[in-house]
């Protein structure tokens, strides 16, 4: 058993209001430089919709992630030999049109113009060519709130699957927001796709980073990541990606997207897993089993055996304690209400999503009049949203989505009975039984999902330094001192 710790995130989609505050705070800190104007380490997409970059889920086109062939994992885009043969031109790579051409406005024009008949306008100016753009054709969140119309919706790879048997009735459709960052996968295909070995997963916290000194700009990571979360900086000619704000998490602070999240939808915590099991877990035959097999690599942080082993392997007390208090452990592993994004890519993603109940509840016209046992059929009737969610979160397994949604509904009813009343106890207990949960569990869930404060939502141990030899010497030193030979060293 090779125990490793991973900092992971849960997003509770019901609470996301699509305000893009997360994207903006991330952008202002990390990608506000020439070369990265089009880059959003965090982006929020309206679903159904094509997403960012367009149709990133279209694996036939970008060829991201892993596939299972004869029981063995292979990169979908091809292994090292075929990558070397394609190194002069990468056929699967997205180009700027798949993202968008970033632009700014000629603001000077607004206050420098002479007095005249017409209103002065600030013309859009490309940040790539520096030339005026007559008409931007696509931009960040161009299709926000379904404003891309049926065109964007019907090009959603998940929706295309459903369309075989469902005709989109635009006014009856549902809508949700999907905030996305790098998943910091347990089995990252971006790392395996890098010919230079520049991408790596950190041993201590599982954060996946690009070594800027080692990156030579071969760009296979871009398409290699099935979530399309590695970007090419055209200025430095190197790959960049979400770094989970490691300078913040090392100090015990949440990532910027989480810190600034208006809906407070984000949770960060540590999970312990067995690195020796990762490969087997990613190699199960049926994609629908991937969710369960992914859960099987996690270790119970309360198990004395696990604690002992973890300590032996250098994971210290504060990390184990954080793993025990981890909101991610509770939601993803204990209550199983958070699901991984596209488990079928076989990368074992580490950002989990609690599926939204609202698209379903919105379809119930008069919730007040609905009897308790009406909820189960109500959940079951919502075939379109459920199949859509299943295609995003459970590799098309609607049973798992139904299970989570029933649990969330049970929580809703239980709390309504408690605070408002008027709920038939017998029927409620039937619902709880069907949802396979208990009143205690539901109340614990409510606590974390609805009222949890900052330090319950973010349980992040500080980065580890005790393994450094020269802590005494390092005390009070500045990082530049690493460049010079340490005087205090024996």
């Amino acid at each position: 058993m090779r125990i490793k710790a991973q900092v992971a995130m849960v997003m509770h989609l019901d609470k996301c209001i699509g305000c893009h505050t997360c994207s903006v705070s991330c952008k202002n800190v990390w990608t506000n430089r020439p070369g990265t104007e089009y880059v959003w380490f965090n982006n929020v997409e309206t679903r159904p919709g094509v997403g960012y970059p367009k149709e990133w889920e279209n694996t036939d086109r970008y060829k991201g992630g892993w596939v299972l062939r004869n029981g063995k994992l292979h990169l979908r885009a091809g292994g090292p030999v075929s990558k070397l043969a394609n190194i002069f031109y990468n056929p699967n790579m997205a180009d700027l049109n798949d993202f968008y051409e970033p632009w700014t406005y000629d603001f000077q024009q607004l206050h420098k113009r002479e007095k005249g008949e017409s209103i002065p306008v600030a013309r859009p100016k490309s940040m790539i060519t520096g030339k005026y753009m007559d008409k931007p054709q696509w931009g960040p969140n161009w299709d926000d709130d379904l404003a891309g119309g049926t065109e964007s919706v019907s090009n959603d790879p998940n929706f295309r699957k459903l369309q075989e048997h469902i005709k989109l009735e635009y006014e009856k459709t549902f809508m949700m927001y999907l905030p996305r960052i790098c998943e910091h996968c347990l089995n990252p295909s971006c790392v395996a796709s890098c010919p230079s070995g520049a991408l790596y997963k950190r041993d201590e916290d599982g954060i996946v980073l690009v070594d800027q000194d080692a990156c030579r700009g071969w760009r296979f990571c871009m398409g290699g990541c099935p979530y399309h979360k590695v970007y090419y900086n055209w200025n430095t000619h190197k790959a960049e990606k979400c770094n989970f704000c490691y300078p913040r998490t090392e100090a015990g602070l949440p990532t910027l997207c989480s810190e600034s999240c208006v809906g407070r939808i984000r949770y960060i915590g540590v999970v312990l897993y067995d690195a020796d099991q990762v490969k087997a877990a990613a190699s199960v035959e049926d994609p629908k089993d991937l969710y369960e097999s992914q859960l099987s690599v996690f270790l119970d942080p309360f198990d004395p055996e696990v604690i002992k082993k973890a300590q032996e392997q250098g994971i210290n007390h504060s990390w184990i304690q954080s793993a025990q208090e981890s909101p991610v452990y509770k939601m993803a592993i204990k209550w199983k209400i958070a699901l991984p994004l596209h488990p079928e890519y076989r990368t074992l993603p580490m950002v989990w999503y609690v599926p939204p109940l609202s698209p379903i509840m919105h379809h119930i016209a008069n919730e007040q009049d609905l009897s308790v046992d009406g909820y189960i059929p109500a959940v079951d009737q919502m075939r379109i949203p459920m199949e859509y969610l299943a295609s995003i979160l459970t590799a098309d397994d609607t049973h798992q989505i139904r299970r989570v949604l029933l649990k969330m509904t049970a929580m809703r009813i239980h709390m309504r009975a408690k605070t408002v009343g008027g709920v038939d106890e017998l029927k409620k207990s039937q619902l709880l039984k069907e949802a396979n949960t208990t009143a205690e569990e539901l109340e614990e869930m409510v606590r974390l999902l609805a009222v949890a404060k900052y330090n319950e939502r973010f349980v992040i141990p500080t980065g580890r330094r005790e393994m450094l030899d020269d802590l005494y010497f390092m005390q009070g030193s500045c990082s530049i001192e690493d460049l010079a030979p340490p005087e205090g060293r024996k």
Partner: protein
Amino acid sequence: MDHFPLCITVLIVAGFYRFMFRGKSWVAPSTEIFEKRWLRIGSVVFHYGIIFAFMGHVMGVLIPMEVYHALGVSDSLYHFMAIAGGGLAGLMVVIGLVVMLTRKFLFPRVHAHTTGGGYFTLLWLILVAGLGTYMTLIYNTTVGEYEYRESIGPWFRSLFTLSPRSDLMLEVPILFKVHILLSFALFAAIPFTRLVHMFSLPVRYPMRAPQQYRSRDGFDKKY
């Protein structure tokens, strides 16, 4: 003519300096994100062409004539192969370069991100490769086959022992001399251009483990 060691010294010293102290600029600076279709033709044709051309130079200049004789390759067979293979490789290189250069003017996004160094590299390569292709395809077939394996070959090999036999070069046609001079200048220019990426071809990739873990200094010392 005998400035080869000097050029190689510049290549090594400047290359070393750039790798060590300007390492973050050591990349294959791609504009694929701006334009894909022309690049697909230009880049692939050029790169494979230059790999063939490199092998051709090894065969023609580094491998002594005696080796061919020992192997029983007749001179006429050698020249036929050299003209056909070398000509094809040379044409690929030149066509690829011209496509890539045209692309730089055709697409505003690519144009905006081409530096002086980028143009220099392409133009210089076109000069060198163009001359080389001309020599192989036209000179050899119209003026007369030139047996460079008796002059340029031994001379080039003598450069590596730092005892150049310049006398061998006296009779060499001027075209060949210009080609050699231009290439030496190009070698010296490598560390100052995008060409450095040729030294970073990730040949070890197939041998390494797919997943890479790294740790902050000393993390696993405690194991």
